[in-house]
Amino acid sequence: MQALYAQLLVGLINGSFYALLSLGLAVIFGMLNIINFAHGALYMMGAFCAYFLLNIAGIGYWPALIVAPILVGIFGMILERTMLQWLAGLDHLYGLLLTFGMALIIQGVFQNYFGSSGLPYAIPDQLKGGMNLGFMFLPIYRGWVVVFSLIVCIGTWYLIERTRLGANLRAATENPTLVRAFGINVPRMITLTYGLGVGLAALAGVLSAPINQVRPLMGADLIIVVFAVVVIGGMGSIMGSIITGFALGVIEGLTKYFYPEASNTVVFVLMVLVLLVKPSGLTGRTT
């Protein structure tokens, strides 16, 4: 049973990353009509940013948790201003191709300087060690990742679904021209939205640095799994992305316990099943 709980926890952690990343993809897709293929590369940049902050500037985990997403978010906004904005009005697929190119550049540059091996990032002192819950041993850092990701996800949901800013955002998604007529600066909002989505990816990167090590290709395979998550959950609903992300992480964890050979493929197989049964995805809205 110990092993089962341990795999469930791993599943929840992976689920946190799926949720944070697919949430960002959904937010970006809603505003920019772009599937951000660079999301995995930006997640990796978040982890590297935390690594640089620690090893160059001596800035530890806690400040990095805020500083790294902001820095990578600003980098994302620069990408949006200089490149992505020129794609407005073109076929969605060009956005996919452009961001794929950006991902190749970012990952290639990092690979040149850091190879393919992992760099260690220590767990902060306050979160070291573990707790005995009676039925399992819980490493505190892993518990923290799950709880904190959940809080960030719910916070993002609240920001978009329940605040005035979020209402403007959703309105601009529906009808940008009309929203502009109300005097709201839609292009600036688009840039900030991209920054927000990228920041969420970078945050996931910082969270994963002490667990998965910091590697140039850490986001490359992850992003494809997240695409499958997005196909399963659909991008129409923020809450849908969060729930699907966590649920698929847990299912993957269970598979690791019961049938480890399929743990790499289970999310893709589930995607196939969902497409066969309910082609429009679980949340049902297609775009």
């Binding site: 897709f29 599937i35 490149m83 020129w86 794609l87 009005g89 073109l90 076929d91 969605h92 697929l93 060009y94 996919l96 191709l97 452009l98 794929f100 190119g101 950006m102 991902a103 190749l104 550049i105 970012i106 990952q107 290639g108 540059v109 690979q111 040149n112 395979d221 494809i224 799994v225 695409f227 499958a228 997005v230 196909v231 050979e261 790499n264 493929t265 893709f268 197989v269 995607m271 196939v272 497409l275 066969l276 082609p279 297609t286 775009t287």
Partner: protein, 322 residues
């Protein structure tokens, strides 16, 4: 919404004549390659990728469907052909046939799944499906995991042509490429191809005219996958191995890049694109990961400033369709 390709030039008998002339020039240039001293393996490799890119282009350029998983056809056909040649010891023609049949079967299965969603989702689904196959091939014993299938015998095609001879192999590969190219060319100019273009331009309208668009798209997908598999089977004789690289997502990305550079939705663009990208990889082989960076830069530059591609720009300049 601007479609991925803008066919501003109407197809007339004159443009068809242009295309036939261009085809004759291309075929003539390729036939004389062995007499020019150009390294034949480079051209053979480029021809395999050119056929692959043409097959991919049939789907995106004429059906409007972006497959981000076309490497799965290349890899699957490659593995099956390699396995048939090495383990079953069949002759080359049956090895190629086995690879094509495997790719066609894969096309039917993945097509039925992927065709259920449109546009951006279609791209993500095909990418996820190819990643699924990548993990399967990583784990199944017959592919030999990271090592791949190596030392594949080339044998005698139809019992006469010794594929171990580079010149004979070259003409066999060239014949395969030209055959595949003509199949695609014929498809594009057939009534079926016209319906595909109609679906790309305005799917609801095509449906309202009574076309079962899903069936057309599925058929185009299967045809494209089968021809990509043909390219994969031919590539086995050139590379004499089949490995995981051919199924990896980065390979799918390269196929997209070749077509984009040459010109999406142009007849000859993918061929030019394949030669450009393969030549670039050859010359920059010593630069390690910078090749990836350069490919990324080409992607970005093409999408931002050069969406018609090489052949698309030429065709646009001369107001012709190529």
């Amino acid at each position: 919404m601007t479609a991925m390709t803008d066919a501003t030039v109407p197809v007339t008998t004159r443009t068809l004549r242009d295309e036939i002339i261009a085809f004759a020039v291309m075929a003539a240039l390729l036939v004389i390659v062995p007499f020019t001293g150009i390294y034949p393996y480079f051209v053979m490799q480029a021809l395999c990728f050119a056929l692959l890119a043409c097959a991919f282009n049939l789907l995106i350029g004429y059906g409007g469907l972006l497959s981000f998983g076309h490497a799965m056809f290349l890899g699957t056909a490659g593995y099956v052909t390699a396995h048939a040649l090495k383990v079953w010891g069949v002759s080359p023609e049956f090895g190629i046939l086995a690879g094509i049949i495997a790719a066609a079967g894969l096309g039917v299965i993945t097509g039925l799944i992927a065709i259920r969603r449109q546009g951006i989702y279609f791209a993500m689904i095909t990418l996820a499906l190819s990643q699924l196959l990548y993990f399967i091939y990583l784990q199944t014993p017959f592919t030999h995991g990271e090592d791949g299938i190596q030392g594949i015998p080339q044998g005698y095609l139809f019992g006469i042509f010794n594929l171990g001879n580079p010149t004979i192999l070259y003409y066999v590969i060239l014949a395969g490429f030209l055959f595949g190219f003509l199949v695609i060319f014929r498809t594009i100019n057939s009534p079926f191809g016209e319906v595909l273009k109609a679906i790309r331009e305005n799917e609801p309208r095509a449906i309202s005219l009574g076309y079962k668009t899903d069936q057309y798209k599925l058929l185009a997908y299967i045809l494209s996958g089968t021809l990509a598999g043909f390219a994969g089977a031919l590539k086995v004789f050139v590379a004499q191995n089949a490995s995981l690289t051919d199924v990896h997502w980065s390979m799918s990305g390269e196929i997209v890049l070749m077509t984009l550079v040459g010109g999406l939705g142009t007849v000859f663009g993918p061929v030019v694109g394949a030669f450009v990208i393969i030549a670039m990889q050859q010359y920059l082989a010593g630069f390690g990961q910078w090749v990836t960076v350069i490919q990324g830069v080409i992607f970005v530059v093409c999408v931002l400033t050069f969406r018609r591609g090489v052949i698309g720009e030429i065709a646009h300049y001369f107001r012709r369709s190529l």
